[in-house]
Amino acid sequence: MFGWLVWRDLILAWRRRADVLATLFFFIIVVSLFPLGIGPERETLRTIAPGVVWVAALLASMLSLGRIFGNDYQDGTLEQLLLTPQPAYLVVLAKVLAHWIVSEVPLVVIAPVLGLQYGLSQNGLAIVVVSLLLGTPVLSVIGSVGAALTLGLRAGNVLVAILVLPLYIPVLIFGSGAVQASVTGSSPQAWLLLLGATLIVSLVFAPWAASAALRISVE
């Protein structure tokens, strides 16, 4: 059943790929605006690169949060999913996994190309990818809680930002810390381990919170 749900969400995303591409282009544009605005000094760019890439990733992933449950809520498939004999925890986990594949993995793939604009070394680019790989699932899974809580509310999109962005702060600090460390030549290992730990903790608790929130929103 888990596989079917993931497959379903992937197919749906493919048939509405314009939505998905919008998020990706948002990320590309935001990251590319900074070198244009700040100027071409290599040192400055290299210093701001970690922060810019990570903040852009946070904002881009936030843009797509509404899609995790929003469409299913509107056409009534969400309540059907909640009435299936498996725990809502699994439903949330499957949807989060699909959201990550659809909305976050493209960011991870394109990030090294964008990193070139900031003059990052090969090692730096590799750390960008690794930190995003560890950090973006956290964004999806924590975001699912915010998305579930604001389901069906009129100002939902703004509320999601207010609810979720503060919770993203640890990921931002650890993720950009890892890239920063590799830029300055020290080891990013500690930051990456912290990111991994955040991922594990959020995977355990967030889907549970999101499923409780879904039950309240559907009611």
Binding site: M1, W7, I11, D75, G76, E79, T84, P85, E219
Partner: protein, 204 residues
């Protein structure tokens, strides 16, 4: 067997009903009637576990549905105002996905058979968004046919159906009752069912 004990439902500041009690046994049909806004949908959503009552309890085979959780959901099929149909998926994909997710996976052949039964064999490979309102309702109904649920909870099941489809849904409900199923149906029209045990429930 479904037992409803002293159920009270409050929406906003309004109390829709108070101390409602009834029970439905195997092969029984409960016809739920009442004017718009009398709480029919709210009652059905409480019965299928989507909403919580302000007071009272719903029991399935003697145990509270709150405690049963997912175990209860395996015995319930709910067809609400929304059909639960994905616009971007074709009719057959909709059917197979909802079957697989609710624990009754269907082969391609089986799914085609079910679609033929509800008269959608021509439309099986069309995305649901091009189907008419009635056809989408028919597609929603297929969920009932494929589920093994003992308790059917149907909200305004006859809306936007043509005569043929109405007869079809009557046929499905009768068949379900014959197999010792239980059906709770909110409706404005007469169902005209030849069920052995029919209970009328009025909300005001």
């Amino acid at each position: 067997m479904l037992e409803v004990i002293n159920l009270t439902c409050v929406r906003g500041a309004r109390r829709l009903f108070k101390d409602l009690s009834f029970s439905a046994g195997e092969g029984e049909l409960v016809e739920l009637r009442g004017p718009n806004g009398s709480g029919k949908t709210s009652l059905l959503r409480i019965l299928c576990g989507l909403a919580t009552p302000a007071a009272g309890e719903v029991r399935w085979d003697g145990r509270s549905i709150r405690k049963l959780g997912e175990e209860y959901f395996a015995s319930v099929a709910y067809l609400g105002h929304q059909n639960g149909v994905k616009d971007e998926l074709t009719a057959i994909e909709n059917l197979r996905v909802s079957g697989a997710v609710s624990g009754t996976p269907l082969g391609k052949g089986e799914a085609e058979e079910v679609l033929t039964r509800v008269g959608l064999s021509q439309q099986q490979n069309l995305p649901a968004q091009v189907l008419s309102a009635g056809q989408r309702r028919r597609l929603g109904m297929t969920r009932l046919l494929t589920s093994r649920a003992k308790l059917w909870i149907l909200d305004e099941v006859l809306t936007s159906l043509d005569d043929a489809a109405m007869n079809l849904s009557r046929e499905f409900i009768t068949e379900h009752l014959k197999k010792d199923g239980i059906a709770i149906v909110a409706t404005h029209q007469d169902l005209n069912l030849a069920a052995p045990r029919i209970q009328q429930l009025r909300l005001s």
